[in-house]
């Protein structure tokens, strides 16, 4: 019966080698959670920074959850994509972070990675674009063993999330 509001924004991203970035995001929760209102996934606009190297999206996130348990606390997963000069999109990084569990505003930095692929794919990526992507996007936030996955670091996505919790104290959860 407790409620959680997640209100904030995806501010932007730094550290990507590509410019013209956009971000697809989604929130994944456990079975105990119910989304009362808001959209749990979305996509930002493409930002091409003119000054500096930070791409600003300032994409709002506004979710209202009801929960009957703490398991499956909401987690955010992100996909940063880049658009090249031909308007083609390619993956620049997968990222994942938990939504903070204490009330208040939080500045989050979510580092990202992307699959490296074989040397052929790397070569193709360097010259013709595209790149290996996960066949199953939920690998990003599921607990699968990823030790066979070779990845390259991407940049960092910056988020600013405000948390409002309600009625958690009623069930003995201090926050």
């Amino acid at each position: 019966m407790a409620e959680v509001h997640v209100i904030g924004q995806i501010r932007g991203a730094t550290g990507f080698s590509e410019s013209s970035l956009f971000c697809k995001w989604g929130v994944h929760t456990g079975a105990a959670w119910k989304l009362l209102s808001g959209v749990r996934e979305g996509q930002t606009q493409v930002d091409t920074p003119q000054i500096g190297d930070m791409a600003y999206w300032s994409h709002p996130i506004d979710l209202h959850f009801a929960t009957k348990g703490l398991q499956g606390w909401p987690r955010l997963h992100l996909q940063v994509w880049s658009q090249d000069s031909f308007g083609r999109c390619q993956l620049a990084g997968y990222g994942f972070c938990h939504v903070p569990s204490s009330p208040g505003t939080h500045q989050l930095d979510c580092p990202t990675w992307r699959p490296l692929g074989s040397w052929r794919e790397q070569l193709a990526r360097a010259f013709v674009g595209g790149g290996p992507q996960l066949l199953h996007g939920d690998t990003v936030y599921s607990g699968a063993d990823r030790y066979r996955l070779h990845t390259v670091a991407g940049g960092t996505v910056h988020l600013e999330l405000g948390l409002l919790l309600r009625h958690f104290d009623r069930y003995g959860v201090e926050c």
Binding site: M1, A2, K24, G26, H28, G30, A31, A32, K34, L35, L36, S37, G38, V39, R40, E41, H64, A66, T67, K68, G69, L70, Q71, G72, Q79, Q83, D84, F86, G87, R88, C89, Q90, L91, P115, G117, E121, A124, V128, G129, G130, G131, P132, Q133, L134, L135, H136, G137, D138, T139, S142, A144, D145, R146, R148, L149, R170, Y171
Partner: protein, 1630 residues
């Protein structure tokens, strides 16, 4: 010569001395020296490897080419490397100087020496002799100067020693050639020395196996060199000299050094020893090596070595156990390994039971001993797979938005292969068939059994068990099988016993089966003979396989003996056991007896002298006692086993169950080789039967989720009752199938089809993919009872083979369907299996499917116990890795140690940590409200503020919603009166809901244009225009309306939007007739259907009555606009052509405060513009009061109405024009003024000029941005796009339509809608001679079908066209459907008809119908049924975009588009651009319309019932609307009106029976009367009520008013109802 000789002498002397010294020193030094040597070797070895060759190079090469050069070379090298670090520069300088001097001297000396040496050497080549001393010498030398040696490198050492050797040798050659020094070891000794010295220290050798041989090799090389030199010593004098020189030089160099270091002062000869290269022949070396090294043999090892003694190799594979694939290793490597293992570790653990090296992991081990090898990419986990995706341009695909669910709908495919059908019993089976089926079945069984060959398997097993037991019991090697405990033995025995029993049973079964088979065959043969014809080609052949009788007998005998012995053993054991028991019992019994005896004795002793009687009594007592306590029965000793009897038993059994020895093995073979007797040779009954069979055919229906999806062709039943279909059905599905059923149908002749049986197919596993699926036979049977009058045995009917009718059989129709069900494989090899088991790809779908239960599925088998039981029964091979997980599971399940829950929980401990239960969470009203609001459920879509606490939310908030949910599926006929309409309404409602839901989702997808308001960048043209504007007049004479800024409907709220209605003027308003004229013949009333007879245009009104002065105002009209129950009205004007020029402002409220585009689009409110006549009547009752006040009553009489739907205003943004006022056909008390204007007299009717708009202007909803899929030809679709693009380029505002979307959302080429369709027959019969009247009747009929704008029902997003039959079923549609139907009717009537797409007032873009009469064109409004001539000024059609015929589409490319000004001759290509032309001929598209329309007559009774109900409801409503006044109903008037209405219907509102009207007026003479009939198509009650309300009849509040209301419903075919409502108010005149 002298000095030289001297020197040589000195050298030799020294040498000799040295030698002596060394001899003396030798024992001392030898050991130390050896150590040194070792050290040296150790040190040197690395460099040694590098410079192995260099010594010889430096010696030989230079010697051959250039002595000087080489000399210098060597010198240089020497000086560089061998000089000790300490000597000063002067010393070196001296050395160099002296070197040159000596060089010259020695060169000479060497020459002479060499000469002499050569002379001496030739005859006595004795190299060997000299070796050992030299060796020793060198050793001594090494020993004496260890420090120097240590500092030198091996290379130096080698080369030095080489050179030294040579020098010495040459020196010795000179001096001591012939001398054999006493005490020198002989050649043999020398040879032995090598081997000898090495032998005692084998461990050293082993430690340096590399360095030693190398040393040896060095020596060998030296030797070889030596020999070479010695052999060819004579020829190159030069060489020798060179050597000598080298030596000298060496000495020169060596000396100072040695002098310096050792301070010994000997000459270099002391240290130089000439020794032969050491050589060891290969053979000897190998011998040595053989002793030292161990080389395992390459030969294969005999089996007995590898296995424990007396153990036979056991091959598991032959026993049927699973053996994995051994890794590939060459045979020789294996042999080597085996040999090595046998020698080094003679433990047997390296070898398996089959005598080979263990190479495979033990599969039974629970944990693998080897870590998993990270395999190649194919082993990568599925969820970690990556896919290289090309960089793709992001396309704003519109189709994606359409479906709503983000992921593209993947079609999954299930392939159902129905290959055939075999009847195992069929009513048409003859007796022979029955037997044949039985035979075939038995044969199948036999084949199956033979394939499994269980008897053989069991026999083998028995054999293996016996062997094992034998081995275990063998006392010869008890230590080899220590694990064979007595317990194990007993287990073995019991196992043997069981196996034997099983084997016997199997063998017996085999035998009986064979017997039955033969028996059935015999029966069949006799039957064939008896009936003298053959029906089946079946033939059984018994093939005999000869067996060697003797071997067979022996084998059998052995078997029997083995069995016997086992049995004996068993019996023996049993016997022993029993004996044990017996003994124990005996003991007890004896003890008991003893005790009793003792007792007795005691008693006897106690009372010896007692009388008889008491004794007897006592005895009795005792006996009683004995009886009381249990008396052990005297045990019977067990019978020892009778061997003979046992043998007899065994033999009997063998005889029974087994083949007799020597008896040939019988192999039955069933063939279809027999011939069937031709029909003409059969008796009659059989002929009948065959004919019956021929008449029958069978087909199979495939039912998917209980719906028939396809069926096979109907195939005739063959004489063999087999049907081959061979059809594969590809079922495209979206969801996981629930059920899959086959239905077998049988058709007999033409009579009918009957369902034989249903076959339920299992849904295939996800692994069953097409190509891998196996054809399975599924049995079915039916319980139908069939009795036939011919030879066929029937089904469910008893019959018998016997003549006397005994032994009856009842067979049911049964059979087998051969089928296979599998999942199809997509193009890229992905099986097309629904996502229940397969996760979809992509972010969105992944998000959706994050709910894990859906991905895991519930189909998993979870009954652990059953599984374990099954596994135990099926005797899985535990070795097979395929069974690994299962075995593990079973071990867990059967061990009982770990608790296996019978449920599966995805998130453990979830339940325990929950705050609240699900129910409680769902009960929360707040959450529910929030969710519903965010789901945009209509009731809550714009719910603004949700209370913070549950208690603040009232329960009734949900009432409406819940009610709606409840009633969704309940069809209630209250509002709808007749059930058909109710169903249709429900259907429409559902379609609407689903469409709305689709678009609700689509609404959230925005285009950039939705979000960004981009100001246009000013360019030069805009600049120029604005400059031009400066010069414009400030106040133009003819001002034009400016475009306003459009407002997106997002931030609006109630009251922001206003509807502006500007009423300008009206024409031709009907005028009051004076009361006085009531008895006069009334003029012809005005007509609604203008131009009933266009051919005869002059419809004159009768002469005006001249009673009224022209100046008298006979009408005072005003306009009232009502919208959403808000009413505004204008001031009252006077006269029939009033001019108001007033602007009315009406507020607009969107439904539930939702001002979004979608919501606005679906506003269904209409703007009613009613025209009333204001009548002032005198209410003064007393004439005397007239002077003191005004006593009039204002009455208003409804004259007519214009109805404009809000959606039109919304989409058009403004409505501007002159509209025809909808005036009822009869307006009592009013007539039209005529004669003033001869022009206008042509047009019957009244008109109103209006301007309507919204403030602020709203942005109308975008049309659907989506492409529908289509079944049209790709080329055609392309052509339509091209055509439309061309047209819109030329005339962007003209409507051009080539495709339409049908009700299932598919694009259809538009001409497919047009096709001649029959109107109801009664219309054709009505006016057989007047086609025009028929056409009007048809148009009237079409106009009676209720109008329902698509934009409303489908949220304004797309315009769906339904076909005419759908339209008639739904009984609702918009202009297009009406127009299509009307056009089709006209085509049927033989007219040339087209669909006109254009825009009209007030509908906006619409569809009309154009017909061509003999000389002119007529334009039909399909929704109202009105017809206009082409040149009619008041034709509502204002522009024509395109014409659509049944075979072509023409686009208007004329300059004007008003129908008045265009030419409708479509044959002129300059005026009309046709779609199909010579370049693209008409392909002959088939119509999507039905062949013909079927009409059923509407129930008259239902219509009259409806009529009564409507009347009742309307009366109630009118009374409701007059809450403050009494409503009286004038029954008489009502009944008069009721009689009048059918006439109106008959004349379609036109020719009213004027007599009747006059009569009406006469009858109601003393009433002031105002009233009118309303005519509407019937859809629901609500619009009727609305229409009555809008007339305002009820608003008369004169106290003595009376009302009359009559309703008439006229039924037309197909439930089309025409409703007439006559409302009148009567005021009694006094």
């Amino acid at each position: 010569m002298n000095p030289k000789e001297e020197k040589v002498k000195i050298i030799t002397e020294e040498f000799v001395e040295n030698y002596d010294d060394s001899e003396v020193r030798r024992p001392k030094t030898s050991k130390a020296q050896k150590h040194k040597r070792k050290k040296q070797v150790q040190k040197a070895s690395p460099e040694d490897m590098v410079s192995e060759k260099s010594p010889s190079d430096s010696l030989q090469e230079p010697s051959q080419d250039d002595p000087n050069g080489s000399l210098l070379n060597v010198t240089a090298r020497r000086s560089q490397r061998s000089l000790p670090p300490t000597p000063s520069a002067s010393r070196t300088g001296f050395a160099e100087f002296s070197m040159r001097e000596r060089l010259r001297e020695k060169l000479q000396a060497a020459r002479s020496k060499a000469e002499s040496a050569l002379l001496q050497e030739i005859p006595t080549p004795r190299p060997r002799h000299l070796r050992s001393p030299r060796e020793k010498e060198s050793e001594t030398e090494l020993g004496t100067e260890p420090r120097a040696e240590v500092e030198r490198t091996q290379q130096e050492d080698d080369s030095q020693s080489n050179s030294r050797v040579k020098v010495r040798r040459s020196a010795r050659k000179i001096k001591s050639k012939t001398q054999v020094p006493p005490g020198y070891p002989s050649a043999e000794e020398a040879y032995n020395f090598f081997t000898f010295t090495f032998d005692p220290e084998p461990e050293d050798l082993e430690k340096k196996p590399k360095s030693k041989p190398r040393e040896r090799r060095n020596q060998m090389e030296e030797e070889e060199e030596e020999e070479e030199e010695e052999e060819e010593g004579q020829h190159p004098m030069q060489t020798r000299a060179n050597k000598a020189v080298t030596v000298d030089e060496e000495d020169v160099l060596g000396r100072p050094e040695e002098d310096f270091l050792l301070d010994l002062g000997p000459t270099e000869e002391d240290f130089v020893a000439v020794r032969p290269a050491e050589y060891q022949s290969v053979h000897t070396r190998l011998q040595v090596e053989d002793k030292l090294l161990f080389a395992p043999s390459k030969h294969s090892v005999p089996m007995y070595k590898k296995l424990p003694e007396n153990v036979q190799p056991r091959f598991l594979e032959d026993e049927g156990l699973y053996i994995g694939a051994r890794p590939e290793v060459p045979r020789t490597s294996q042999n080597i390994m085996e040999n090595r293992l046998l020698v080094q570790e003679p433990v047997q653990k390296w070898f398996g039971d089959d005598g080979r090296i263990l190479a495979l992991p033990n599969p039974i081990k629970p944990f693998p001993s080897r870590p998993p090898v990270p395999a190649q990419s194919q082993d990568v986990k599925r969820e970690l797979e990556t896919l290289y995706k090309k960089a793709v341009k992001y396309i704003h695909s519109t189709t994606q938005h359409m479906i709503g669910s983000g992921d593209s709908p993947v079609n999954f495919q299930l392939d159902v292969d129905i290959s055939g059908l075999i009847f195992t019993h069929h009513p048409c089976f003859s007796r022979e068939h029955v037997l044949a089926a039985k035979l075939a079945q038995l044969y199948d069984q036999y084949l199956a059994r033979r394939q499994r060959n269980k008897a053989k398997f069991l026999t083998d097993k028995l054999q293996a068990l016996r062997n094992a037991l034998q081995m275990g019991l063998n006392p010869a090697n008890p230590h080899k099988s220590p694990n064979l405990t007595p317990k194990a033995i007993s287990e073995y025995k019991s196992e043997i016993w069981q196996t034997r029993k099983l084997r016997d049973a199997e063998q017996e079964k085999d035998r009986t089966l064979l017997k039955t088979l033969i028996k059935v065959w015999k029966e069949m043969k006799s039957l064939r003979e008896f009936q003298r014809f053959t029906n089946t080609p079946l033939k059984l052949v018994l093939r005999k396989e000869k067996v060697d009788q003797k071997a067979d007998e022996e084998a059998q005998e052995a078997e029997i003996q083995a069995e016997l012995s086992e049995l004996l053993e068993e019996h023996l054991m049993e016997y022993e056991e029993q004996l044990e028991v017996y003994k124990a019992a005996q003991q007890r019994w004896k003890a008991w007896r003893k005790a009793r005896r003792a007792k007795k004795k005691k008693k006897k002793k106690k009372k010896p002298a007692e009388e008889e009687q008491p004794q007897e009594e006592e005895e009795e007592e005792e006996e009683e006692e004995e009886q009381g306590e249990e008396e052990p029965v005297k045990p019977v000793p067990p019978q020892p086993t009778n061997r003979a009897a046992l043998e007899q038993q065994v033999r009997e059994r063998a005889a029974q169950g087994r083949r007799r020895p020597g008896e040939p093995v019988l192999v039955p073979e069933l063939s279809l080789a027999g011939s069937v007797t031709p029909t003409d040779q059969c008796p009659r009954v059989e002929v009948l039967r065959r004919e019956d069979v021929k008449r029958r055919s069978v087909h199979v229906k495939v039912l998917f989720n209980h719906k028939e999806v396809s069926r096979t062709d109907s195939r005739p039943l063959g004489t063999d009752f087999r049907v081959h279909f061979g059809q594969i059905f590809n079922l495209q599905i979206f969801n996981w199938p629930e059920s899959l059923t086959l239905q077998v149908y049988e058709t007999v002749g033409h009579s009918g089809t009957s369902l034989l049986a249903e076959v339920f197919l299992p849904i295939p596993e996800t692994t069953a993919v097409t190509g891998r699926a196996v054809l399975e036979e599924v049995e079915f049977s039916s319980n139908q009872h069939v009795t036939l009058d011919h030879e066929g045995v029937g089904s469910g009917v008893p019959f018998s083979f016997e003549a006397d009718g005994s032994n009856q059989l009842i067979l049911m129709t049964s059979g087998k369907v051969a089928n296979s069900v599998s999942w199809a494989v997509g193009e890229n090899g992905i099986p097309l299996i629904p996502p229940l088991s397969q996760q979809n790809i992509g972010l969105r779908s992944a998000l959706k499917r994050a709910d894990a239960i859906s991905s895991i599925g519930t189909s998993g088998l979870t009954d652990m116990k059953k599984l374990a039981k099954w596994a135990a029964e099926s005797k899985l091979d535990p070795n097979d890795p395929n069974n690994g997980p299962l075995m593990q599971l079973i071990s867990v399940a059967t061990s009982g140690e770990s608790y296996v829950p019978d449920f599966f929980r995805l998130e453990q401990l979830q339940q325990e940590f929950n705050f609240v239960s699900d129910e409680e969470l769902n009960r929360s009203k707040r959450f529910r409200l929030l969710r519903l609001r965010s789901q945009e459920v209509p009731e809550f879509r714009n719910y603004k503020q949700v209370p913070l606490y549950d208690r603040e939310i009232l329960e009734k908030v949900f009432q409406d919603y819940e009610k709606r949910l409840r009633e969704r599926n309940v069809i209630e006929a209250k509002d709808h009166i007749d059930t058909h309409r109710a169903t249709v309404a429900k259907y429409l409602q559902q379609v609407r809901e689903s469409v709305i839901n689709r678009f609700l989702i689509a609404r959230h997808h925005f285009l950039p244009a939705d979000l960004i308001a981009e100001e246009e960048v000013p360019n030069i043209s805009i600049l120029g225009l604005s400059l031009f504007k400066l010069a414009e007049q400030k106040r133009p004479l003819r001002p034009r309306r400016k475009g306003r800024k459009k407002v997106t409907a997002q931030n609006l709220s109630d009251g922001d939007i206003k509807l502006l209605v500007n009423i300008i003027r009206a024409y031709d308003i009907p005028m009051r007739k004076p009361v006085a004229s009531k008895f006069q013949q009334q003029s012809r009333p005005s007509r609604t259907f203008i131009e009933k007879h266009p051919a005869s245009p002059a419809t004159q009104s009768p002469a005006h009555s001249t009673d009224y002065p022209l100046d008298q105002v006979r009408v005072r009209p005003f306009v009232e606009v009502s919208f959403q129950r808000t009413v505004c009205h204008t001031t009252t004007a006077e006269g029939p052509n009033p001019s108001w020029n007033e602007e009315l402002e009406l507020p607009f409220r969107a439904p539930s405060g939702d001002y979004s585009t979608t919501s606005l689009q679906s506003v269904r409110d209409d703007v009613f513009i009613n025209i009333f006549d204001e009548v002032l009547s005198d209410v003064l009752e007393d004439e005397r009061d007239r002077g003191s006040g005004l006593h009039t009553r204002i009455e208003r009489h409804w004259l007519g109405c214009v109805k404009i739907p809000f959606s039109t205003i919304y989409f058009q943004a403004r409505i501007d024009g002159t509209f025809k006022i909808d005036i009822p056909p009869v307006l009592l008390g009013y007539s039209k003024e005529r004669g003033f204007d001869s022009v206008r007299s042509l047009s019957e009717g009244s008109y109103l000029t209006l301007f309507i708009t919204m403030e602020p202007q709203l942005v109308p909803g975008e049309p659907v941005r989506e492409k529908f899929d289509s079944q049209e030809d790709e080329k055609l679709l392309h052509a339509t796009e091209k055509f439309q693009a061309e047209c819109s380029l030329k005339f962007p505002h003209r409507q051009c339509l080539t495709t339409a979307i049908n009700i299932s959302g598919k694009t259809v080429f538009i001409t497919r809608y047009l096709k001649p369709l029959n109107p109801p027959q009664e219309f054709l019969d009505a006016y057989p001679n007047n086609p025009q009247a028929t056409a009007e009747l048809v148009a009237h009929y079409v106009s009676l079908i209720p109008f329902l704008p698509d934009s409303v029902s489908f949220a304004g997003i797309c315009d769906l066209w339904s076909t005419s039959d759908q339209f008639l079923d739904l009984l609702a549609g918009d202009e297009e459907e009406h127009a299509v139907l009307l056009c089709n009717y006209f085509l049927f009537l033989g007219k040339k008809a087209w669909l006109v797409m254009g825009s009209a007032i007030p509908e906006g873009p619409t569809a009309y119908v154009l017909t061509r009469e003999q000389s002119h064109y007529l334009i039909w409004n399909p929704c109202s049924g009105h017809v206009y001539r082409q040149f009619d000024t008041f034709c509502p059609l204002k522009s024509v975009g395109c014409l659509i015929g049944p075979d072509n589409v023409w686009f208007n490319i004329q300059r004007y588009d008003s129908p008045l000004r265009i030419n409708f001759d479509v044959t002129k290509p300059k005026l009309w651009k046709s779609f199909f032309s010579r370049s693209l001929p008409y392909p002959g598209l088939s119509s999507i319309q039905p062949e013909e329309l079927r009409y059923q007559h509407t129930d008259k009774a239902a219509a009259s019932e409806l009529q009564d109900r409507i009347e009742k409801i309307l009366k109630e409503k009118i009374m409701d609307w007059r809450p403050r006044n009494l409503t009286r109903w004038n029954r008489y008037c009502t009944s008069t009106l009721r009689h009048f209405l059918p006439q109106l219907e008959r004349s379609q509102g036109g020719d009213v029976d004027e007599d009747h009207q006059a009569e009406l007026l006469r009858q109601l003479g003393d009433y002031r009367f105002s009233g009118f009939p309303l005519h509407m198509p019937y859809s629901e009650i609500k619009p009727l009520v609305e229409a009555v309300h809008s007339t305002g009849v009820h608003s008369i509040d004169i106290p003595n008013v009376e009302f009359a209301l009559a309703v008439y419903v006229h039924p037309y075919p197909r439930n089309v109802l025409s409703v007439w409502i006559y409302v009148a108010s009567l005021i009694r005149n006094r």
